[in-house]
Symmetry: C2
Protein backbone atom coordinates (compact mmCIF):
# COMPACT_ATOMS: atom_id res chain seq x y z
CA UNK A 1 0.00 0.00 0.00
CA UNK A 2 2.61 2.46 1.00
CA UNK A 3 4.36 2.17 -2.33
CA UNK A 4 1.10 2.85 -4.06
CA UNK A 5 0.62 5.89 -1.91
CA UNK A 6 3.97 7.16 -2.93
CA UNK A 7 2.98 6.65 -6.49
CA UNK A 8 -0.23 8.50 -5.99
CA UNK A 9 1.62 11.25 -4.31
CA UNK A 10 3.62 11.70 -7.44
CA UNK A 11 0.79 10.86 -9.77
CA UNK A 12 0.92 14.10 -11.68
CA UNK A 13 4.69 14.04 -11.78
CA UNK A 14 4.77 10.54 -13.15
CA UNK A 15 2.32 11.43 -15.86
CA UNK A 16 4.22 14.45 -17.07
CA UNK A 17 7.44 12.51 -16.88
CA UNK A 18 6.07 9.81 -19.12
CA UNK A 19 4.65 12.42 -21.43
CA UNK A 20 8.01 14.14 -21.65
CA UNK A 21 9.72 10.91 -22.53
CA UNK A 22 7.19 10.17 -25.24
CA UNK A 23 7.49 13.60 -26.75
CA UNK A 24 11.26 13.57 -26.51
CA UNK A 25 11.48 10.24 -28.27
CA UNK A 26 9.25 11.60 -30.98
CA UNK A 27 11.12 14.88 -31.35
CA UNK A 28 14.54 13.28 -31.33
CA UNK A 29 13.33 10.99 -34.05
CA UNK A 30 12.90 14.03 -36.25
CA UNK A 31 15.96 15.95 -35.20
CA UNK A 32 18.54 14.35 -33.00
CA UNK A 33 19.73 17.66 -31.53
CA UNK A 34 16.41 19.35 -30.99
CA UNK A 35 16.30 22.02 -28.35
CA UNK A 36 14.97 21.17 -24.93
CA UNK A 37 12.77 24.20 -25.27
CA UNK A 38 10.98 22.69 -28.22
CA UNK A 39 10.42 19.47 -26.33
CA UNK A 40 8.97 21.24 -23.35
CA UNK A 41 6.77 23.32 -25.57
CA UNK A 42 5.44 20.42 -27.57
CA UNK A 43 4.78 18.55 -24.36
CA UNK A 44 2.74 21.52 -23.22
CA UNK A 45 4.87 21.99 -20.18
CA UNK A 46 7.14 24.69 -18.81
CA UNK A 47 10.83 24.47 -19.42
CA UNK A 48 11.41 24.38 -15.69
CA UNK A 49 9.34 21.23 -15.42
CA UNK A 50 11.45 19.49 -17.97
CA UNK A 51 14.60 20.46 -16.15
CA UNK A 52 13.32 19.25 -12.82
CA UNK A 53 12.57 15.86 -14.25
CA UNK A 54 15.78 15.68 -16.26
CA UNK A 55 18.38 18.04 -14.84
CA UNK A 56 20.53 17.67 -17.91
CA UNK A 57 20.09 16.77 -21.50
CA UNK A 58 22.23 13.71 -20.97
CA UNK A 59 19.91 12.43 -18.32
CA UNK A 60 16.90 12.73 -20.58
CA UNK A 61 18.58 10.94 -23.43
CA UNK A 62 19.85 8.33 -21.02
CA UNK A 63 16.34 7.56 -19.85
CA UNK A 64 15.15 7.36 -23.43
CA UNK A 65 17.60 4.66 -24.29
CA UNK A 66 17.86 2.91 -20.99
CA UNK A 67 16.05 -0.16 -22.24
CA UNK A 68 18.09 -0.30 -25.40
CA UNK A 69 21.23 -0.32 -23.31
CA UNK A 70 19.70 -2.94 -21.10
CA UNK A 71 19.10 -5.13 -24.10
CA UNK A 72 22.67 -4.68 -25.18
CA UNK A 73 23.85 -5.77 -21.79
CA UNK A 74 21.68 -8.85 -21.80
CA UNK A 75 23.02 -9.74 -25.19
CA UNK A 76 26.38 -10.54 -23.66
CA UNK A 77 24.91 -13.41 -21.67
CA UNK A 78 22.99 -14.63 -24.67
CA UNK A 79 26.07 -14.59 -26.85
CA UNK A 80 28.15 -16.31 -24.24
CA UNK A 81 25.59 -19.10 -24.12
CA UNK A 82 25.52 -19.61 -27.84
CA UNK A 83 29.10 -19.01 -28.89
CA UNK A 84 32.63 -19.73 -27.80
CA UNK A 85 33.99 -16.91 -25.63
CA UNK A 86 36.20 -15.18 -28.15
CA UNK A 87 33.54 -15.26 -30.80
CA UNK A 88 30.99 -13.98 -28.33
CA UNK A 89 33.30 -11.15 -27.49
CA UNK A 90 33.78 -10.23 -31.10
CA UNK A 91 30.11 -10.40 -31.90
CA UNK A 92 29.24 -8.33 -28.89
CA UNK A 93 31.62 -5.59 -29.86
CA UNK A 94 30.20 -5.53 -33.35
CA UNK A 95 26.75 -5.22 -31.92
CA UNK A 96 27.94 -2.53 -29.59
CA UNK A 97 29.22 -0.61 -32.57
CA UNK A 98 26.02 -1.06 -34.48
CA UNK A 99 23.89 0.06 -31.56
CA UNK A 100 26.09 3.05 -31.03
CA UNK A 101 25.89 4.20 -34.61
CA UNK A 102 22.43 3.17 -35.64
CA UNK A 103 20.22 5.15 -33.36
CA UNK A 104 21.07 8.80 -33.23
CA UNK A 105 21.53 9.79 -29.64
CA UNK A 106 22.27 6.30 -28.47
CA UNK A 107 25.91 6.90 -29.16
CA UNK A 108 25.82 9.77 -26.76
CA UNK A 109 24.28 7.52 -24.17
CA UNK A 110 26.82 4.80 -24.58
CA UNK A 111 29.66 7.24 -24.44
CA UNK A 112 28.51 8.65 -21.14
CA UNK A 113 27.40 5.24 -19.92
CA UNK A 114 30.93 4.04 -20.42
CA UNK A 115 32.60 7.34 -19.65
CA UNK A 116 35.35 7.50 -17.14
CA UNK A 117 35.35 9.70 -14.12
CA UNK A 118 31.59 9.62 -13.85
CA UNK A 119 29.00 6.91 -13.83
CA UNK A 120 31.16 4.04 -14.83
CA UNK A 121 33.72 4.73 -12.16
CA UNK A 122 31.51 4.74 -9.10
CA UNK A 123 28.21 3.39 -10.29
CA UNK A 124 29.78 0.52 -12.21
CA UNK A 125 27.98 1.28 -15.41
CA UNK A 126 25.89 -1.53 -16.82
CA UNK A 127 27.94 -1.79 -19.95
CA UNK A 128 31.07 -2.18 -17.91
CA UNK A 129 29.44 -5.15 -16.28
CA UNK A 130 28.73 -6.81 -19.58
CA UNK A 131 32.30 -6.35 -20.73
CA UNK A 132 33.55 -7.86 -17.51
CA UNK A 133 31.45 -10.96 -18.10
CA UNK A 134 32.90 -11.35 -21.54
CA UNK A 135 36.39 -10.80 -20.26
CA UNK A 136 35.96 -13.33 -17.51
CA UNK A 137 34.80 -15.98 -19.94
CA UNK A 138 37.71 -15.33 -22.22
CA UNK A 139 40.15 -15.31 -19.37
CA UNK A 140 38.96 -18.75 -18.42
CA UNK A 141 39.26 -19.90 -22.00
CA UNK A 142 42.71 -18.39 -22.22
CA UNK A 143 41.93 -16.53 -25.39
CA UNK A 144 42.66 -13.00 -24.27
CA UNK A 145 45.34 -11.37 -22.22
CA UNK A 146 44.80 -11.83 -18.55
CA UNK A 147 45.51 -8.35 -17.31
CA UNK A 148 42.64 -6.66 -19.10
CA UNK A 149 40.02 -4.58 -17.39
CA UNK A 150 36.68 -3.57 -18.81
CA UNK A 151 38.01 -0.08 -18.63
CA UNK A 152 40.79 -0.89 -21.03
CA UNK A 153 38.40 -2.38 -23.51
CA UNK A 154 35.93 0.46 -23.45
CA UNK A 155 38.75 2.92 -23.82
CA UNK A 156 40.13 1.03 -26.75
CA UNK A 157 36.88 1.08 -28.66
CA UNK A 158 36.20 4.71 -27.86
CA UNK A 159 37.22 5.55 -31.40
CA UNK A 160 33.72 4.49 -32.37
CA UNK A 161 32.42 7.70 -30.89
CA UNK A 162 34.39 9.66 -33.45
CA UNK A 163 32.79 7.95 -36.37
CA UNK A 164 30.16 9.84 -38.23
CA UNK A 165 27.02 7.73 -38.58
CA UNK A 166 25.96 9.69 -41.63
CA UNK A 167 29.06 8.72 -43.54
CA UNK A 168 28.65 5.61 -45.61
CA UNK A 169 31.89 4.00 -44.59
CA UNK A 170 31.35 4.02 -40.86
CA UNK A 171 30.63 0.34 -40.86
CA UNK A 172 33.85 -0.49 -42.60
CA UNK A 173 35.88 1.73 -40.32
CA UNK A 174 34.23 0.40 -37.23
CA UNK A 175 35.00 -3.10 -38.35
CA UNK A 176 38.64 -2.28 -38.96
CA UNK A 177 38.90 -0.62 -35.59
CA UNK A 178 37.37 -3.54 -33.77
CA UNK A 179 39.57 -5.97 -35.56
CA UNK A 180 42.63 -3.98 -34.59
CA UNK A 181 41.55 -3.76 -30.99
CA UNK A 182 40.86 -7.44 -30.87
CA UNK A 183 44.35 -8.13 -32.11
CA UNK A 184 45.70 -6.04 -29.28
CA UNK A 185 43.62 -7.86 -26.72
CA UNK A 186 44.54 -11.32 -27.88
CA UNK A 187 46.79 -13.42 -25.85
CA UNK A 188 50.22 -13.60 -27.33
CA UNK A 189 51.40 -17.10 -27.88
Amino acid sequence: MSTKRVEQLHAQGLRTRACLLDVAREVFEECHDASLNSIAKRAGVGIGTLYRHFPTREELVFELYRDQVQRLVLASEELLRTHPPLEAFRLWMERFARYAMTKAGLMEVLRTATAHGRFAQEARGPVTGAVEQLLAANREAGTLREDLTADDVLLAVAGLYQLDPSAEDWEQRAHRLLELVLCGLRRRD
Copy 2:
Protein backbone atom coordinates in the same frame (compact mmCIF):
# COMPACT_ATOMS: atom_id res chain seq x y z
CA MET B 1 55.69 45.77 -52.20
CA SER B 2 52.26 44.50 -53.08
CA THR B 3 52.32 42.01 -50.25
CA LYS B 4 53.23 44.79 -47.91
CA ARG B 5 50.35 46.80 -49.21
CA VAL B 6 48.04 43.95 -48.51
CA GLU B 7 49.40 43.84 -45.03
CA GLN B 8 48.90 47.52 -44.57
CA LEU B 9 45.46 47.21 -45.92
CA HIS B 10 44.69 44.79 -43.17
CA ALA B 11 46.90 46.54 -40.68
CA GLN B 12 44.18 47.15 -38.16
CA GLY B 13 42.77 43.72 -38.67
CA LEU B 14 46.08 42.06 -38.08
CA ARG B 15 46.62 43.99 -34.91
CA THR B 16 43.28 43.07 -33.40
CA ARG B 17 43.75 39.51 -34.49
CA ALA B 18 47.07 39.29 -32.69
CA CYS B 19 45.57 40.98 -29.68
CA LEU B 20 42.69 38.51 -29.62
CA LEU B 21 45.08 35.60 -29.72
CA ASP B 22 47.13 37.00 -26.85
CA VAL B 23 44.11 37.63 -24.73
CA ALA B 24 42.61 34.26 -25.57
CA ARG B 25 45.79 32.46 -24.59
CA GLU B 26 45.78 34.36 -21.33
CA VAL B 27 42.12 33.76 -20.58
CA PHE B 28 42.21 30.08 -21.46
CA GLU B 29 45.14 29.73 -19.13
CA GLU B 30 42.85 30.73 -16.29
CA CYS B 31 39.76 28.88 -17.38
CA HIS B 32 39.87 26.41 -20.22
CA ASP B 33 36.23 26.88 -21.13
CA ALA B 34 35.94 30.61 -20.79
CA SER B 35 33.19 32.30 -22.75
CA LEU B 36 34.03 33.95 -26.03
CA ASN B 37 32.17 36.95 -24.73
CA SER B 38 34.64 37.37 -21.91
CA ILE B 39 37.54 37.16 -24.32
CA ALA B 40 36.11 39.79 -26.62
CA LYS B 41 35.38 42.01 -23.68
CA ARG B 42 38.81 41.73 -22.16
CA ALA B 43 40.35 42.40 -25.56
CA GLY B 44 38.29 45.56 -25.71
CA VAL B 45 36.60 44.45 -28.88
CA GLY B 46 33.07 43.68 -29.96
CA ILE B 47 31.88 40.13 -30.03
CA GLY B 48 31.24 40.42 -33.74
CA THR B 49 34.88 41.23 -34.34
CA LEU B 50 35.99 38.13 -32.56
CA TYR B 51 33.64 36.02 -34.58
CA ARG B 52 34.79 37.49 -37.88
CA HIS B 53 38.35 36.62 -37.10
CA PHE B 54 37.52 33.22 -35.69
CA PRO B 55 34.15 32.02 -36.94
CA THR B 56 34.06 29.27 -34.38
CA ARG B 57 35.55 28.53 -31.01
CA GLU B 58 37.38 25.60 -32.53
CA GLU B 59 39.10 27.83 -35.00
CA LEU B 60 40.32 30.16 -32.30
CA VAL B 61 41.67 27.36 -30.18
CA PHE B 62 43.20 25.80 -33.24
CA GLU B 63 45.13 28.95 -34.01
CA LEU B 64 46.26 29.18 -30.41
CA TYR B 65 47.85 25.78 -30.52
CA ARG B 66 48.88 25.66 -34.13
CA ASP B 67 52.55 25.91 -33.27
CA GLN B 68 52.30 23.30 -30.58
CA VAL B 69 50.74 20.94 -33.06
CA GLN B 70 53.42 21.85 -35.55
CA ARG B 71 56.07 20.95 -33.02
CA LEU B 72 54.39 17.64 -32.42
CA VAL B 73 54.41 16.95 -36.12
CA LEU B 74 58.06 17.80 -36.47
CA ALA B 75 58.83 15.51 -33.58
CA SER B 76 58.00 12.53 -35.74
CA GLU B 77 60.88 13.28 -38.07
CA GLU B 78 63.18 13.91 -35.17
CA LEU B 79 62.24 10.65 -33.52
CA LEU B 80 62.61 8.73 -36.74
CA ARG B 81 66.12 10.06 -37.10
CA THR B 82 67.17 9.12 -33.61
CA HIS B 83 65.36 5.86 -32.98
CA PRO B 84 64.46 2.66 -34.73
CA PRO B 85 61.04 2.93 -36.38
CA LEU B 86 58.99 0.99 -33.92
CA GLU B 87 60.50 2.76 -30.96
CA ALA B 88 59.97 6.10 -32.68
CA PHE B 89 56.36 5.21 -33.21
CA ARG B 90 55.88 4.28 -29.59
CA LEU B 91 57.61 7.38 -28.31
CA TRP B 92 55.64 9.58 -30.62
CA MET B 93 52.36 8.19 -29.43
CA GLU B 94 53.39 8.73 -25.85
CA ARG B 95 54.24 12.30 -26.66
CA PHE B 96 50.98 12.69 -28.47
CA ALA B 97 49.18 11.54 -25.37
CA ARG B 98 51.15 13.87 -23.13
CA TYR B 99 50.52 16.83 -25.40
CA ALA B 100 46.86 16.03 -25.58
CA MET B 101 46.41 15.83 -21.85
CA THR B 102 48.85 18.37 -20.57
CA LYS B 103 47.60 21.61 -22.02
CA ALA B 104 43.93 22.19 -21.49
CA GLY B 105 42.32 22.92 -24.80
CA LEU B 106 45.04 21.25 -26.80
CA MET B 107 43.17 18.01 -26.53
CA GLU B 108 40.23 19.64 -28.22
CA VAL B 109 42.52 20.80 -30.99
CA LEU B 110 44.04 17.42 -31.54
CA ARG B 111 40.68 15.75 -31.55
CA THR B 112 39.36 18.00 -34.25
CA ALA B 113 42.70 18.10 -36.02
CA THR B 114 42.51 14.34 -36.30
CA ALA B 115 38.76 14.19 -36.60
CA HIS B 116 37.18 12.24 -39.40
CA GLY B 117 34.78 13.67 -41.89
CA ARG B 118 36.25 17.15 -41.64
CA PHE B 119 39.73 18.52 -41.84
CA ALA B 120 41.63 15.30 -41.81
CA GLN B 121 39.63 13.83 -44.60
CA GLU B 122 40.03 16.50 -47.23
CA ALA B 123 42.68 18.78 -45.86
CA ARG B 124 44.94 15.92 -44.87
CA GLY B 125 45.44 17.15 -41.35
CA PRO B 126 49.01 17.74 -40.27
CA VAL B 127 48.89 15.10 -37.59
CA THR B 128 47.70 12.57 -40.10
CA GLY B 129 50.80 13.32 -42.11
CA ALA B 130 53.07 12.65 -39.18
CA VAL B 131 51.45 9.33 -38.49
CA GLU B 132 51.82 8.38 -42.12
CA GLN B 133 55.52 9.03 -41.93
CA LEU B 134 55.84 6.81 -38.93
CA LEU B 135 53.76 4.13 -40.55
CA ALA B 136 55.81 4.22 -43.71
CA ALA B 137 59.03 3.80 -41.80
CA ASN B 138 57.64 0.89 -39.89
CA ARG B 139 56.22 -0.67 -42.98
CA GLU B 140 59.65 -0.62 -44.49
CA ALA B 141 61.13 -2.09 -41.35
CA GLY B 142 58.44 -4.75 -41.32
CA THR B 143 57.55 -4.07 -37.72
CA LEU B 144 53.88 -3.24 -38.12
CA ARG B 145 51.04 -4.61 -40.14
CA GLU B 146 51.13 -3.45 -43.70
CA ASP B 147 47.48 -2.59 -44.21
CA LEU B 148 47.37 0.21 -41.67
CA THR B 149 46.27 3.70 -42.47
CA ALA B 150 46.88 6.80 -40.37
CA ASP B 151 43.15 6.87 -39.99
CA ASP B 152 43.17 3.54 -38.27
CA VAL B 153 45.82 4.61 -35.84
CA LEU B 154 44.21 7.88 -34.90
CA LEU B 155 40.93 6.11 -34.43
CA ALA B 156 42.54 3.53 -32.22
CA VAL B 157 44.05 6.07 -29.88
CA ALA B 158 40.90 8.17 -29.75
CA GLY B 159 40.28 6.76 -26.30
CA LEU B 160 42.76 9.33 -25.09
CA TYR B 161 40.13 11.99 -25.60
CA GLN B 162 37.96 10.34 -23.02
CA LEU B 163 40.56 10.53 -20.32
CA ASP B 164 40.17 13.17 -17.70
CA PRO B 165 43.36 15.21 -17.40
CA SER B 166 42.47 16.20 -13.87
CA ALA B 167 42.41 12.60 -12.69
CA GLU B 168 45.71 11.41 -11.33
CA ASP B 169 45.71 8.11 -13.14
CA TRP B 170 45.35 9.43 -16.66
CA GLU B 171 48.99 8.76 -17.38
CA GLN B 172 48.73 5.16 -16.36
CA ARG B 173 45.57 4.62 -18.36
CA ALA B 174 46.97 6.33 -21.40
CA HIS B 175 50.01 4.13 -21.20
CA ARG B 176 47.93 0.99 -20.96
CA LEU B 177 45.81 2.08 -23.89
CA LEU B 178 48.80 2.84 -26.08
CA GLU B 179 50.41 -0.42 -25.22
CA LEU B 180 47.27 -2.28 -26.16
CA VAL B 181 46.94 -0.41 -29.42
CA LEU B 182 50.54 -1.08 -30.26
CA CYS B 183 49.98 -4.78 -29.74
CA GLY B 184 47.15 -4.62 -32.20
CA LEU B 185 49.21 -2.81 -34.76
CA ARG B 186 52.17 -5.14 -34.55
CA ARG B 187 52.86 -7.49 -37.32
CA ARG B 188 51.90 -11.00 -36.44
CA ASP B 189 54.69 -13.44 -36.87
